[in-house]
Subunit: 435 residues, 2 copies
């Protein structure tokens, strides 16, 4: 029986047109994060399972990891997220590294989930982290950077909203204000994280179940917090919490720096257990794609799990699947030209004689794809067209003898006899006009 | 107990200085293969196990794959090589694609092996393939391309040798000339593939064991072939084999095209079962690194395993670990500058006032890393130095008021008061002089 040509379920093949788009997107990401002084790192896609046991969410570790035993009996996983890895790497050089440390990576991450719109089993995710800054200027920079990424793709502020919340504040609400026990509070966090996917009745009944044994009215009291659309509509007893003051200060710093589409969202949780303070998400405002595109926060406790001095850290992740959906729905993706500049049609048995001219054009930084088949010219021309290439260089005996080569523009149908220098000039010019 | 900071055994962390080197190398690879008209593709790192069962070598599948069952009961592997994947992807669009089809990829590949010099459990491997050309001009192009890659790094022809052999010829030698049965011939291929790692006595005794039941003198007869250093020293009965004629023709095409360090090596096998015709390897001639750096060949049968029309194919793989070893030992690696152009030292409580100048320099395509700590200037300067950065921009109240900023060159110790435009000009100039 023939083998299947399908990729593994929930994962993507990147044909050249897909890869071109990915390279365009990754190129923009790299360019903006490097403008902010971040340096790229990377690490193996396989990590020991223990790396995820303490601080990644239980749901991810127990139900969604690609975990297995290697041939040497080690429990390993294909990484589901990058934060434990970057914490491990920083901890390994805790003393030698220079702070503030700014690092980024674009790793491939895997989770065993039911594939759905905007969510596959693998994605590439830009991870950006700043280590060694306790002050909220770290949050300010990280959010400004996320904002700059979206602007670099041409996004306008009304296309997205940046939502902020404070884990410290939420912990206070659940623990002190509502008197939930730690296990109840942890469950409630996860429930609130899924709040927008549940209808009100479902949410309330699940919240009631968590609150069994608590004072009557606890869920109503919680809802009066979760329903608050602004600082001013929070219950007065909560308004002076220092977590909120930090959050408000962060918002005003962002405003001053020109990031104005920032809002407070008390229901924002983020799925990971390691966040300790401010958390944030960038939300698509398009009605057909109302979802989080980027998310992150402060996690000051992770590096210390490796037995070194703690390190304040703020970071975010931005996945390629959700980002591409955002760019598509807002029509921000350009038509990308092929990397190949010229298709070379060889007329007659002159391929070896043509090698010199071909090599010369390549040395002038032109990308040439040579038809090696010896078939008829019209077939060669139609193949260039099928490949989506605009220019064909026609080389026959006469061209080689005279040094005048035929350049055909398939878009306009025009042909010209040119020297190699002229061809290089022409193509370089047309390349720039396409940018 | 604290978590370990070590990466998974046999795999690499890429700290920013390592990643910078990798990006330099991959950039060169991409640039040269694209000059030859190849387009980049990619695919998931997880593939179904069945993809490797028929044609990858038995040793790899049974002893070296990272194979496991996913949570849905599918048998999968982390890909050990890319050739089955690219064959699958081409087969899926066999009719739509335009031939000759030129594709490349730089996938991360995994094999469970004992880590040793030049061989880890994972590596990144440039894979270059041309589909749809039956003639040896495909081999010529592929080998010229490999050669161009090495030259682009500054390698000289005496630093490496390109070895060629013909599977068709070897199959004829083992089957017709030595009368080995197919199983014996397959085993002998694998033994010859390891020949250079065995001493003569070991090799002969293992060859004897494979030849049990064959005519007396079979191993001696085989050795008289394997010991031939050139076409002329082969036993006369073999010299007219058509596989050798193709090989000689390929060598002469390469010579004409300026690739002169090509030799015939009758012991060259390549580890994979899918090669059908010419095979080749690029060998490091350095006495301390005498090993294959790149290898490939023609495999005309693989695409048809997916139930579509067969497609002639020639390709090669070039791993980043062996390539980096080659570049290091021949001292071909340049000192690479940091991506960050400027460290910004902020003097006094003026960070928010400085944001405008920082944003302006970023908009001029400069990469700036800002010290967010508010510590003393000398500490900020020493941090820039620790990060290996040459230029520091000093911003205090006075600089912001006057629009004249202090640019300090840590290499020369010189300082100058400049406008933002002048700073951008200065830095851009120094960047170019470093290239």
């Amino acid at each position: 029986m023939a083998l299947s040509t399908q990729p593994y379920k929930g994962a993507r093949d990147f044909y050249p047109e897909d890869k071109r788009l990915q390279k365009y997107i990754f190129g923009k990401l790299r360019s903006v994060v490097e403008q902010f002084g971040y340096e790229e790192y990377d690490a193996p896609i396989i990590e020991p399972l223990e790396l995820y046991l303490t601080k990644t969410s239980e749901e991810i570790v127990n139900e969604q990891t690609y975990a297995f035993e290697d041939r040497g009996g080690r429990q390993v996983v294909i990484r589901p997220e990058m934060t434990p890895t970057v914490s491990r790497m920083v901890a390994a050089r805790r003393q030698e590294l220079a702070y503030p440390l700014r690092w980024y990576s674009i790793p491939n991450l895997w989770r065993y989930e039911r594939p759905q719109h905007g969510r596959l089993r693998e994605h590439w995710q830009l991870n950006v982290d700043i280590f060694g800054v306790e002050d909220i200027v770290a949050e300010q920079e990280i959010i400004m950077l996320a904002d700059a990424i979206f602007k670099s793709f041409g996004a306008k502020p009304d296309m997205y909203t940046i939502k902020l919340n404070s884990r410290k504040f939420i912990n206070y609400v659940l623990g002190d204000y509502l008197s939930l026990k730690p296990e109840q509070a942890a469950k409630m966090c996860r429930l609130i994280d899924h709040m927008h996917r549940l209808d009100r009745a479902d949410f309330t009944s699940q919240a009631d179940a968590i609150c069994v044994g608590s004072k009557a009215g606890t869920v109503e009291k919680m809802l009066s917090v979760l329903d608050a659309g602004s600082f001013d509509s929070l219950p007065p007893a909560l308004r002076d919490h220092p977590g909120l003051a930090e959050l408000q200060k962060t918002m005003s710093l962002l405003h001053e720096a020109g990031v104005t589409n920032v809002v407070f969202d008390v229901t924002l949780m983020r799925g990971f257990d390691y966040y300790t303070d401010l958390v944030f998400e960038l939300f698509d405002t398009h009605p057909d794609n109302n979802r989080a595109i980027m998310g992150g926060g402060r996690y000051d406790g992770l590096v210390a799990l490796f037995g070194v001095e703690p390190l304040p850290t703020v970071g975010f992740g931005l996945g390629d699947v959700t980002l591409t959906d955002f760019l598509k729905i807002h029509e921000l993706l350009p038509k990308l030209p092929a990397e190949t500049d010229l298709y070379v049609a060889v007329v007659g048995d002159v391929l070896q004689l043509a090698q010199k001219a071909i090599a010369e054009l390549r040395s002038k930084r032109l990308n040439l794809s040579v038809d090696l088949t010896g078939r008829k010219l019209d077939k060669q021309l139609s193949m260039a067209d099928k490949k989506g290439l605009r220019y064909v260089l026609i080389i026959g005996q006469q061209e080689i003898s005279t040094g005048q080569f035929t350049l055909k523009d398939l878009q306009t149908g025009k042909e010209a006899k040119l020297t190699l220098d002229q061809i290089a000039e022409e193509i370089t010019k047309s390349r720039h006009s396409e940018l």
